[in-house]
């Protein structure tokens, strides 16, 4: 199925780009973190639980997770005009849903937990880097969580599986073209909280992608844990 095929940057098919993670980069925030996959850099800040305005949006039975993702205008080659695009609005929503399963929001009625994710430099996998950063930022903010969330994009270039696609790989057009499947899962269980793809892939092969994500998540989890624990020991 996957022979020794060459990726443009020399990585093996299941090799992640070099990851960077740091916690506590924004002193004003209750929790904050940076996470990078190679050249894709995401920063996240968490404020909360805090008061939700306007008051009529408050829910007396549960807290609300409000997630905002966007690109900084100079993070991409063609400058992005300030203000949320439809793409960023969609990613904001699915990112929020990828994180919510680990937070017990019902413990914070009438409040909001604000998660802000911004991309400093984009080279594909921005939403996955964002989720990894946000997951750390939530833990750093002291939000009670039942697990961390790990996210990575896996896919297929023609018939070959790949993990953590670069922008060049996303633009691959030969044969079956590129299939890009962004996923997120809880670090310590087989629960998937983000599933988003486009391309062409058979149901059988999707099962294999799930395994690839599980494997990669272990590496991501180690990086997240290390950064979070450093925030404690270096205080």
């Amino acid at each position: 199925m996957t022979k020794e095929f060459k990726r443009l940057d020399g990585r093996k098919y299941n090799e992640l780009r070099k990851m960077t993670a740091k916690v506590g980069i924004i002193p004003n925030a209750d929790g904050s973190a940076l996470f990078a996959f190679g050249n894709t850099i995401a920063i996240a800040a968490v404020y909360g639980p805090r008061k939700l305005h306007p008051q009529h949006m408050q829910d007396p039975s549960t807290g609300v997770l409000r997630c905002n993702y966007d690109l900084l205008s100079f993070s991409v080659e063609d400058r992005k005009k300030p203000g949320p695009s439809r793409r960023s609005q969609e990613i904001s929503k699915v990112t929020g849903w990828s994180l919510e399963p680990v937070i017990d929001l019902e413990a914070f009625p009438n409040t909001v937990i604000d998660v802000q994710i911004y991309i400093l430099q984009a080279d594909a996998g921005t939403r996955t880097a964002g989720i990894n950063a946000a997951s750390m930022a939530l833990a750093h903010a002291g939000i009670p969580m039942k697990d961390l969330v790990c996210s990575v994009a896996v896919g297929k270039l023609d018939k070959d599986f790949v993990v953590d696609l670069t922008k060049e790989e996303e633009d691959f057009e030969d044969g079956e073209g590129a299939t890009d499947f962004a996923m997120a899962k809880l670090a310590n269980s087989d629960e998937f909280s983000l599933l988003q793809m486009d391309g062409k892939i058979s149901p059988e092969r999707i099962k294999e992608l799930l395994n690839l994500v599980s494997e990669s998540s272990k590496e991501i989890y180690e990086v997240q844990k290390k950064a979070l624990k450093e925030a404690i020991t270096h205080e």
Binding site: I26, P27, A44, S73, F74, S75, L120
Partner: protein, 267 residues
Amino acid sequence: MEISNVTKEYLAKLFSQQKRFDGRSLLEFRDIHVSTEVSNKAEGSARVKLGNTEVVVGVKLGTDAPYPDSPDKGNLMCTGELLPLASPAFESGPPSFRAIELGRLVDRAIRASGMIDLSKLVITPGEKVWTIYIDIYPINDDGNLIDAANIGAVIALKTAKMPKIDENGKIDYENRKGSLPILEDNFPLAFSFFKLGDSIIVDPTREEEEAAEARVTFGLSKFNKHHIVNSCQKIGKITFTKEEIEKMMDILPDKFDKLSEKLKKVL
């Protein structure tokens, strides 16, 4: 929590005794750290840390029609966004006064200094020119965003590389080469003075800035060894006395020289 009456009064008392919580004198700046290449997708970018205040600024080039009243000049557009990330006080939504002001003040300081020769940014006269976009993003607001942003904008502009126009008239961002058309020695900087009671301070922390009752910001540059004030804006309900303004004019040249010396080393 919004600043309390007691803390405001206490800060006024501290300042009147020439003291500050962090031990600085009233006209002393915090430590400045500057780095470049925040994003490899930007033509130029900088990260500025002024104490705990952190601002990133990026420069992007695009092409547009020129403005109708300047057909032989390129465009300059400077925008500031107060991302909710940077402070519990920033909210999502349409830009606040502070966000609008941030972009406009940095814009005027740079534009009026003549640092950028916009006439060299014409591609086809009257039809197609380069637009320089400067985008300012505070990452952590611990006071004095304008001065920090101005530093970032100037460093980003000075380290930026021009993209090319290829044979089809499209922008080729991959092969950036050569600087933007900027005057070498020109280094426009902003200096904001904040007033609380009868005291004037520079480079406030967020707490000090919240207590301040007025602010005046000057954009300064240097041309042929002469200091020039390029821009000025005062906000806030109370007044500045003639004496206070004169004193600012006395100390500005020296502050400018010291800061621009420090920053030239970064480049």
